[in-house]
Amino acid sequence: MSNPAGPGADLRVIAGGLSLKNPVLVASGTGGYGAELLPLLDPETIGGVVTKTIFAEVRPGNPPVRIAETPAGMLNSIGLEGVGIDRFLAEKLPRMEGMDTRVVVSIGGYGPDDFARLAERLDAVPRCDALELNISCPNVKEGGLDMSTHPRLAAEVVRAVRPVTRKPVWAKLTPNVTRISDVGKACLDAGADGLAAINTLLGMAVDTEHRRPVLRRGVGGLSGPAIRPVALVKCWELLRVLSCDVIGIGGIATTDDALQFLIAGCKAVQVGTAVYVDPGCPAHIAAGVGTYLEANGMERMEDLIGSITVDEEWLLGPRAADEEGGR
């Protein structure tokens, strides 16, 4: 793939088994199925697009009110509205044909078999470069889609998908757990190539005039800059405990935000809610990472990723895998 930063810094990375021209992707649910971002964001300027989560069937989504603005963030309970796999393959994905960028297809389901069927079907689709398993959406009523709150349930999904696809598989994890690394480890053991973290934090807002929840579903997922420190510490835990490929997500809106995740050790990042407000920002962030590399005399992404220095003696938080007795 071409190097969009030009002859300067080489921004290529391999994240969770997927090679990217630069480490910036658009997060699932925030860029449609990819082509909708044009002309405000050219997908070829970024590493890739993670599609809106695809289910086997058409989903109308939740009744309004679906979103609420919160301090430096938003709550959503969209409910995984989507066109279903048939229309996705017939109408949406073809619009990404020929584009020099990665398409990571986010898939969802009510149990491991649903994921496996979609994964098998997408395995035969060349334009699908990788799969992201959305096992962590808090907004769906039927059966509770938050399978990533439990290591065993999360692993069952990955284990069902792994044998039916040759494409890289990322498991997208919820932050709404005490130890995200327990779930992450289960997913890796089951064959995931990378961990995408985090999905939204569960949140709520109350309409004080009418004394009812703002969202029709009562609760929703919190995203946006407000959650960035939480997202970063969850990624940090995954990186420290599991030494695996992590794709960082959560509140990234600027180059500096992205750099924090990369320096901490994430192989790539996804920009989500910020795309709503500033559709061009993923391209600006990708260019900004290149500028940072050059300004700091770094030639490639390996020089940047995980370059954080810590004082192990005083560090609070999750410890590296080898220190925990062979986790």
């Binding site: 860029g31 971002l37 009744p63 309004p64 009110v65 603005e69 430096a72 600027t254 407000v277």
Partner: protein, 269 residues
Amino acid sequence: MTAGPRLDSARVRSQRETHPGFFRLELELPPDYPQVLPGQYLNLRAGTPLDPLFRRPFGVVEFRREPGAAVIELFYGVVGRGTRAMAAWREGDMVDCLGPLGTSYTLDSDRPALLVAGGRGAAPLLYLYRLLRERGHGTVRFAFGTRTAGLLFGLDRIAEGDLVIATEDGSAGERGTIVEALERGGRWLEDGPALYACGPERFLAATAALASARDLPCQVSLEGVYACGLGLCRGCAVPLRGEARYLMQCTEGPVIDAARVDWERMPHE
């Protein structure tokens, strides 16, 4: 039709408080800026980059081309953090502007036009009124309701004979809501007009019921705040009569046929 949305840096030409908490804002955009149609909106970034997070959508009151600039006039009331931040804008400030977005009113050339405005919802209708008058549309009437007389605006742009006013406190025109006034008067509904409405959700629901009862066509411009304005977040779902799928207000609206909306399932602010 207009081109797709674009991001621009708009210059504040002027801003004036016309009534406590209510502002008239003029923005300058590049001279090649696409024609904005009545009902379409601009999504403006109101604050610091992070908080408030969302842009704020505004239907345009006026769009005109001048040498060197496309000039857009907006009218808004201070209702929250975004508009409070906007109230501090001064001449020369640069504003991040995404637009033009959304659908516009579709003209029914065979029927008299009845524009029904609730409060700040008069904004796009003032623009529609001017275009209809310039195009020589036969009968154009403007029904304007607000809480109180001070919130009426743009009246100097409407010919006296075309205007009826209602205020809830009776400080100007008829006392009560504008929908009640239209029902009482009856006269303006007799010649089978097409209704073009903009205002708060409950006002639009009442206007839609009025039109439906008399079998009159009615287009409404729905109010809302959008995370994106581009159809990406799927947040602005409008329930449709007899359909499982929702309409996305930001791209398939804000102007839609009132008969399509399932008003019973709307959230009602």
